[in-house]
């Protein structure tokens, strides 16, 4: 029987009602994505009367991966040192364990295997890149520096945030005050944080200069050494974003079932046993969600390295977004878009992998 127009409309109602929201999303995210894809395949040039976009194919990407900008994006390659091999071995071990677990789970699918193969290749490639650029004479590119900021930064933020949340969930005096104080850094503008840490880390003129001199660091310039400069960036980033993880995990911990905790306590379980067997399984899905959100944001770090060190010394603290910004500032719009797309690809693969292979299993186990 043919449907009347009004019946057909009724059936399409759900799609029609979300259509405006979808169109807005498309306008403000997908279309710019397509336009910047074209930019990434072009060269921008000023001309009399305006500007010109000339299609150059994969040239901008070739420059990043194989050409004159390889040192900037991937780094300078050297023979892998012993700690590089150690890192590679650890990564291979963890990846192999993960794949073995998946196959032994008895439910492997073709898409699951393909997805894990892509994830394995991506993580292995990043680990190899790090190992091959971290040795003496080598140099990390903006890709490796960003991955370090994400991995080290988010790990520290999770551990510290979780620890503070556990502390503030206890029945201690002034815990309301501590909750506010621990949350404050999130309210400060990133540029303000960058300038604050720049002053605090100043060994000769800053407010802590006396302390640095007392511990024998008065002549050290953290901004002139690659790893100390990166460390200061990560400290600033951790200081700023730990409160975000803290406040969400605090809510999750306070929302867990009190009966189970009391029962475990009555049974004589230690604090650590209660955390491992009762609290963590409850809050793990929330923790993994918050880690995913932080990882996505951490990939885009730009304020701290820009204000603290201008990406220096040399290019040692340049993140991918800062690298893209510096190119854009020099009107190399194609090069800038190419770096931005590489960031998009890397962060999408890693975040999608985290979602599918860490978060989803956690949620399934909880159910």
């Amino acid at each position: 029987m043919r449907l009347s127009f009004s019946d057909w409309l009724d059936r399409q109602a759900d799609r029609l009602f979300i259509l405006p929201a979808v169109l807005i999303l498309l306008t403000f995210s997908i279309f710019p994505l397509l336009i910047s894809a074209y930019l990434a395949l072009s060269r921008f040039q000023l001309t009399a009367g305006g500007y010109q976009l000339r299609f150059v194919g994969w040239l901008n990407f070739k420059k990043l991966l194989f050409g004159g900008e390889q040192y900037h994006f991937l780094g300078v390659f050297v023979p892998v040192p012993w700690y590089g091999w150690l890192l590679l071995a650890l990564v291979i071990l963890l990846l192999a364990r993960s794949i073995a677990q998946y196959i032994r789970s008895g439910k492997p699918t073709l898409f699951g295997l393909i997805g894990r193969a892509v994830t394995t290749a991506a993580i292995l490639a990043l680990a190899l890149l790090l190992a091959a650029t971290i040795g003496a004479g080598g140099q990390l590119g903006s890709l490796s520096v960003t991955v370090i900021y994400v991995a080290v930064g988010v790990t520290c933020q999770l551990l510290i945030g979780l620890g503070l949340a556990m502390l503030c969930s206890q029945n201690i005096r002034c815990r309301g005050f501590f909750r506010v104080v621990f949350f404050l850094p999130l309210m400060v503008t990133p540029v303000g944080i960058a300038y604050t840490f720049r002053m605090l880390a100043d060994m000769t003129q800053g407010p802590l200069a006396g302390l640095w001199r007392f511990v024998g660091l008065g002549d050290l310039s953290w901004a002139s050494q690659a790893w100390s400069a990166r460390l200061v960036v990560m400290v600033g980033d951790t200081w700023q974003w730990t409160p975000f993880i803290f406040i969400v995990l605090l809510a999750a911990i306070e929302g867990q079932s009190r009966e189970q905790v009391e029962a475990a306590s009555l049974d004589g379980a230690s604090y650590w046993q209660i955390f491992r067997d009762v609290t963590w399984p409850e809050i793990a899905p929330v923790a993994s969600t918050i880690v995913l959100i932080r990882v996505i944001e951490a990939f885009k770090i730009v304020d701290l390295p820009n204000v603290l060190t201008n990406g220096g010394p040399g290019i040692a603290t340049e993140s991918l977004t800062l690298h893209s910004f510096i190119n854009w500032r020099a009107l190399d719009l194609g090069g800038s878009a190419a770096v931005a797309y590489m960031l998009l690809i890397v962060s999408t693969v890693l975040c999608a992998s985290f979602f599918n292979y860490v978060m989803q299993p956690m949620r399934s186990r909880r159910q």
């Binding site: 000023l46 004159g68 310039s221 510096i326």
Partner: protein
Amino acid sequence: MSLRRNMLGAAVAVLAGGAAGLIAPAQAGQFDGVTVNVMTFTGPQIAEPLQRRAPDFEKLTGAKVNIITVPFSDLYQKLLTDWASGTNSIDAAVFAPQWMSDYVVPGYLLDLSDRMAADKDLQEDDVAPFFRDFSQKFNGKAYMVTLDGDFQMVYYRTDVLKELGKEPPKTWDDYLDIAKAANGKDMNGDGKPDYGSCISKKRGAQAYWAILSVAGSYLQAQGTKEGIFFDTKDMKPLVNNEAFAAALKVYQESTKYGPADEINLDVGDTRKLFTSGQCALSLDWGDIGTLAIDPKESKVQDKVGAVIIPGSKSVLDRSSGKLVACDKQTCPYATDGINHAPFAAFGGWSGGINAKANPKVQDAAYAFFSYMSQPKQSNEDVTLGKTGFNPYRMSQLKDLTLWKKAGMSEAAAKNYLGAIQESLDSPNMVLDLRIPQNQRYEQVALDTAVARMLAGELTVEDTMKQIASAWDDITEEVGRDSQLKAYKATLGQ
């Protein structure tokens, strides 16, 4: 008859009035209701005099001038993006005249030739010919109003050199020798060791001109028309040879005698260090000379000398790429066997106007820049260190009363102005790069490579290869023939 005479008189009056409308001095209420948005660098230098005098100009003319500041590293592309995209929110800007090649060719800057020619209050004849030609004109037409005159010089502590028994440096070897001898001594009586040399080396700031100041005397000896950036036969970069290597080594070694975080210091930081008495030597534009006499900020009043950029006893032989000793043929402009090549770094902050701005706004913007440049304002501003404006008028270089009134002793004024005059008069003066995309050659390619070298990421040889390769890429992308033609034109070839 009398009617015809009256009509003729009226016509002449109308014509004169029309012309005067273009060039009349700022008049009360002339620009009532007009707002001019002027963009420049964050400063505080450069922005300070504009912000300070904007209210006075508003009282005089009714025009409200908004000074919008951005970090130096963003200024070039902010202006281009605003003008190229047609946003046109910026009516005028104070920026580097060497960027004219990228702003004039696409038609973004207003031709000011007629206005400036008819503007008697501007006293153009008093502007030093070099700044009139280099900082104002492009392809024979004037697009910018000069507000500042730029030469880099070396500053030294007269008391420290006297104590060490040293003369002001004539060569870069002398500079390093003094820096090494002075490094670690307490030069300001605070009990802490101070620095032999303080040169701004921060990436993404205004540091990259310093390496060119060092390199100039190794690269150019046959006069201004020779140039230091490219070979005028084939546009090959002159950055991968013994001369540039020598300059990079001098630059690198100077870091040993400076503050531990010198590679993260901007010009504002090194100036503060020098005027607080913590440095024996510095390389900078004219600002230290005027900052040193500020009684509120300076601890080195009457203890500062200035000298033309040190030279070299050997120069580049362009056919072999090797350094050869100076003699009458290789260094015709040498003094006592030393080849000096003072560098007109940057050119000098100047004001340009958006060609697409509203005509009334354009008139107001021009009137504001003319007001800033007129001797009554300019003569005071160039004597104040906080402005960042350095002398560019011939009267400013000759009239000692201006400087004595600002607090300089006669001897110090003669020394300071003498160094600038010597640079201006030098037949071997080095012109800054003014070809299209010069900002990419210098602020991106050169700055990044030198920053990496100072950070220990690159050797001297790799630095030179990196710069040469990046410059060649830019040249190929823009067009080798057109770039060569433009480069030769800027050298007057």
